[in-house]
Symmetry: C2
């Protein structure tokens, strides 16, 4: 792993620090004396006058380096093992106050302390730098020079123009525990983000797509500007002390810190089976705002390079850049996802799951690389690639590959996430250029609170205007509380720590991540209780529970124009729903379609009629949907499976796209009864003679094939709503 | 992925070469113009007088570098995708003449040619090196110096003592397609080797352990010395031309090239269901001789550093080193494997398969790192860790984790292997320090042929003295033919290419790998026919086929003292085997035990009575096997499952360890009838009242739980043999 370590320093014996912390971790004491004796007694002081390094010395140094690198990486792996074992214990004991990421962070902190305070305060062996005037070189300086010093000929390589911060006194033992920052962005983040896209529960995501996009785009922009402005105000009154911190720096910090990562909160939501819409909103926002924050920060950075003061043209250019990069990254991700879908559809590679999984993996990582090579944002491309893969490719995979790909990315996500968090913990103590400015850090906490507030509350107000099912105040508070910062903010902040301003940003980000993860993470359960958020919503159970159960959940009828609960219409609906069942949903969907937003209707039709049949074996055959002139092409693209589908009702979760124009939530109804009542009470064009639809496995969701159930349940709920539901907010805890 | 690229060079526009080859591969032409226009028109010639680089320039250069790195890695990923698709096509069409690794190699070659002959022949922008006499620096030269040249202040960092080969004119575009050689050893090889250990079919491996260890240890040593001596003879008559090539270099080359890697041959063996013993011998030898060759080469290297001439003491030290490193690496691997087994046994982590799989993965990779950190050989440790994990830990894993871990390492193995082979293909053309010495390369082919010959034939002669079932001449020829070289030899050779001798070794190794993989690989099927090797041995079917089928496979009785086929003893045995079935095996095993080698008997008893019950839920409870004084400890260590086992017969594949003292092979019998006849015809201590044994899942084998079947079948075979079998070799094709 020598290659991934960033700073190669002078040879040194096994550092006591690492050895100690490692001892603490692994408890494998019996093997250590050997390592120790091999590397010389630790009590030998560094020679005061260094000896001339020979070739053998330098080889030995490289060997020591390699050993140290191995030891170092091993330390992190053992940290992860320890985290895993503790987390198992927590899960076993149903202790939910600390999430695995929080635990990884804590263990990292402990190890960081040990490394820091046991490491030898080595004075670097060689003088750090020396200015040598050599005016004999004209023009461009050479790539390498050989200095003929008194100790012999030495090779020096050109590191570029000299900047003072390049040469700082560093403790080589501590910098050994440091990885190349690009590792985070190029190796550890992509699987995390891809997994988010691939495991996205499309059903609930698309139901709340309006809200999610609003929070992600508008919200992140608002948060960036609020945080930037507040920070700049504090900088003006001296919070950053003597560090030069421009407004653009403040904006950049705002963008970096606006990437929320409520993995702790979501894990608890998942465990507690919290309300699905709240889950979708928090999850969707966090996934999408990572993408926005990443592009926003690079845009601000680019903007800062061209101009320091405010400039209208530059601002517009930056905005154009933002849109261009977002569209480009989105496009690459989507195209690569579709390309994989085509490959898996038109080859019989599914007969060889290993090959199929490998191809899936390679195509997905290529997406990242392609976007980076084209100057787009790989992380964003990978996110949309993940969503596309889940939507199309997943349908074409063999059963084994479905399991394999899900498990593979789950594993990579787990490892990468916990590695980042334990690294964060360690780097609080091993990063050597921290800028501890208490004022700035406190100001930052204030600013992110304010930024989050200006994101959630006003935007929700706006959203609620258009939503049938309002986001109630407790949900808003919970969303406000879910603004944890995590891996993405850290990766963005650690990417560049060359200037003092950036170092200050890094220190502040680290503090914010730590406090929000540990503090908010451990308070989530408590918060759910305080805010009376409904938990224990077993989605599956809710969908399959008997009709009566849904019925009794609801308050007695209150509306004036609604049909009475025991009236003839009620009984008709009951009978209808019980007897006719699934066969009705398609026609109901058709009847309902006009209620959805126009854009979604267009998209849904296009996707359902053209994209899905082209890219997967699902959907109606293209020979039906394409105009007659394209018939040969259509025949070419349609698989035999699709013809079979023709006679079946396709129940895919996209149905929600259409159904959810009315933004229903089962069991908890707030308003909009008029709409749903109309729909449910007009089932005249039912076609009960159609065969029962096979549950299409659509997307990498946990609830595959539940479409029918959900639709039926929802119809029941709609029915019950139409029989009378209070118009006010009611959250059942 | 910037971090994994080794040489950072001057900024350059997108190289035409990479773009072209990538175009060829991906066919995604629509996205390229954007990339191109972004990086400046390619027709612009390099400025003759370079301008002074500013900070913005260097940032941009880093950005370009990153893009180029991404493009490069993407090229390899697309190569792999292409390989996968082609391989699928081959599998689909049952075309077996080219294995995926050979294909990866071929595609790599094609892309290498394109990169090579389309790359701009750039003259490096900056003068490569310049010797500057600076006598003002006394003693130790500084880590960094700042040169005050006329173009401004530049930072130069110390690269160590100057050696001429460090500074060579390189084509930056080509060196971009080059990875850090340590990547191969530290990242790509470990999963390949671990997978070999984890997927090892213990049953057949242990049956042939004697032969495998002989070929691996003695054979590799013989091969190393023969190759080394032959090469030295050729060097003395001038095969290496003007390159300085010492005897130690020759020996090192011998060690490097002695690591066989018949992955192509094994894949065909697997597809064709070739004789299981031949498979086990070829597979086992290749796995173990990798370990031996790796340690041997590092020992020779160390030996070469201390002495150039032959020195008895140094030789003994080297031998001691070899043994020490082997034992140490073996120990680390085994201990870590057992530690993982303990962790999975005594925690209930199996309830969370994700955590379990992560821990398994982390512990396995930690083994590599720990061995490296302690100065041992990580690859060897990982091999034995894999075997231990398969033998103990695998039994404790949950069903899901069993599948997950197998699939994960299968995937990693596939990706790593094909990446290495496609990289090999590319580097034939992109490696810039090839030493094409036709004489040396031809001599090397001769030497490895001779080395392999002196390995296989004399050692088999030796082995056959002690084997009941001889390795026949055709098998020997097939083993001789299976001496392909592959990933390990390549990784060893690319590790250091600093001196000209090493570069010559690298070039030669590359040629040998290519020729053996492509030539021998494609001839394997033909060879199987020529050598009349029995194929279509469906292990499962063979074990479960009716008794008559086995019977008719065998030639009519010929022996004189054997009981007649239709005599009373024969009928008794038939009845016995049919009626009593599995319940007998334990007692038969007991009766047979004395025939096994003493060492294996000791090991088997220890493993079966103490290790297995301690580390897994299998085997007899420790409360039974440990002496009474250890009762509290035994109670502590024994799981409830073990008590249940107490009343069952444990059919694990280790039984073979004991049974296979007689080295039987089903259906093909050569000699040793006396032994087996005695065994089978004494089933008097049978205990038919015992309940039927549950098939214990033991080891990551494909044939889990077949123990009973195999034993029964074998008993049948033994019976049939005892009724009369010819003493001469008979291979059924």
């Amino acid at each position: 792993m020598a290659a991934v370590m960033c700073e190669k320093s002078s040879p040194s014996p096994f550092p006591r620090a690492l050895r100690l912390s490692w001892l603490l971790l692994a408890g494998l004491m019996m093997v250590l004396p050997a390592a120790h004796s091999q590397d010389g007694p630790k009590t030998t002081p560094q020679p005061a006058i260094p000896v001339m390094p020979t070739e053998k010395d330098s080889e030995r140094a490289a060997e020591d380096d390699h050993k140290l690198d191995s030891l170092n990486l091993m330390m992190f792996l053992f940290l992860l093992v320890l985290t895993i074992l503790t987390i198992w214990l927590f899960k076993h004991r149903r202790f939910r106050y600390l999430h695995e990421t929080g635990l990884a962070l804590l263990y990292g902190l402990i190890v960081g302390v040990i490394i820091r305070y046991t490491s030898n305060e080595v004075v670097p062996q060689k003088p750090v730098s020396q200015i040598v005037p050599v005016s004999s070189i004209d023009g461009e300086p050479p790539a390498n020079i050989v200095l003929n010093v008194s100790a012999g000929e030495y090779l020096f390589s050109n590191q570029g123009p000299y900047q003072e911060h390049q040469v700082q006194v560093v403790n080589p033992e501590l910098s050994k525990a440091t990885f190349d920052p690009e590792i985070f962005f190029n190796i550890l983040l992509p699987p995390i983000i891809f997994h988010a896209g691939y495991s996205l529960k499309k059903r609930h995501f698309f139901r709340n797509i309006g809200g999610i996009l609003t929070y992600a785009f508008l919200g992140t922009a608002v948060s960036t500007f609020i945080v930037g402005s507040v920070m700049y105000a504090f900088v003006l009154i001296g919070a950053a002390a003597e560090i030069d911190f421009s407004f653009v720096d403040c904006l950049f910090f705002g963008a970096v810190i606006s990437a929320t990562d409520p993995v702790t909160v979501l894990a608890i939501f998942h465990d507690m089976h919290v309300d699905v819409d709240l889950y979708a909103l928090v999850f969707g926002e966090s996934v999408m705002n990572d993408a926005v924050a990443i592009i926003l920060s690079s845009t601000v950075e680019g903007y800062g390079k061209t101009t320091k003061a405010f400039d209208g043209i530059a601002f517009l250019t930056a905005f154009g850049n933002f849109l261009g990069i977002f569209a480009g990254s989105f496009g690459i991700g989507a195209v690569m996802g579709c390309f994989t879908a085509v490959l898996t559809k038109f080859t019989k590679i599914r007969e060889h799951p290993l090959l199929e999984t490998c191809m899936f993996f390679l195509m997905s990582y290529s997406t990242f690389l392609m976007a980076e090579a084209l100057g787009m944002t790989g992380i964003v491309a990978v996110l949309f690639c993940g969503i596309t893969q889940a939507h199309y490719t997943y349908n074409n995979l063999s059963e084994e590959s479905k399991a394999r790909t899900k498990q593979l990315f789950e594993l990579l996500n787990f490892l990468a996430e916990n590695f980042i968090f334990s690294y964060m913990g360690v780097s609080v103590f091993t990063f050597q250029h921290h800028q501890w400015k208490g004022g700035f850090i406190s100001a930052a906490f204030l600013a992110i609170g304010l930024g989050r507030m200006c994101n959630i509350y006003p935007l929700t107000l706006l959203l609620n205007l258009g939503r049938h099912q309002k986001i109630n105040f407790n949900f808003q508070n919970m969303m406000m509380f879910s603004g944890l910062r995590g891996a993405v903010a850290f990766a963005l902040a650690i990417r560049s720590t060359s200037s003092e301003a950036r170092q200050l940003m890094f220190t502040t980000t680290l503090m914010i991540v730590m406090v929000t993860v540990l503090f908010c993470g451990s308070l989530t359960l408590q918060m759910l209780t305080w805010l009376k958020i409904r938990v224990g919503v077993d989605e599956d159970q809710e969908m399959t529970q008997p009709f009566e159960a849904v019925d009794t959940l609801l308050p007695p009828p209150l509306g004036d124009g609604d049909p009475p609960r025991d009236g003839p219409e009620y009984r008709y609906l009951c009978a209808y729903l019980e007897d006719e069942g699934d066969a009705q949903v398609d026609s109901r969907r058709r009847g309902m379609r006009y209620e959805s937003a126009w854009l979604f209707r267009v998209w849904y039709n296009f996707d359902h009629n053209y994209l899905k049949p082209t890219l997967t074996h699902a959907g109606p055959p293209l020979t039906e949907t394409l105009p007659a002139c394209c018939l040969p092409l259509a025949r070419c693209l349609t698989s035999t499976q699709a013809y079979e589908n023709q006679h079946n009702i396709q129940e895919d979760s996209d149905t929600d796209l259409i159904l959810d124009g009315s933004e229903l939530s089962y069991g908890r109804a707030n308003s909009g009864n008029d709409l749903t009542a109309t729909v449910v009470t007009t089932p005249t064009n039912a076609t009960p003679t159609l065969p029962k639809a096979p549950a299409e496995e659509d997307g990498a969701e946990g609830d595959l094939g539940l479409g029918d159930h959900e639709l039926r349940t929802r119809a029941r709920v709609m029915l019950t709503m139409s029989t009378g539901v209070p118009g006010k907010d009611s959250s059942h805890v």
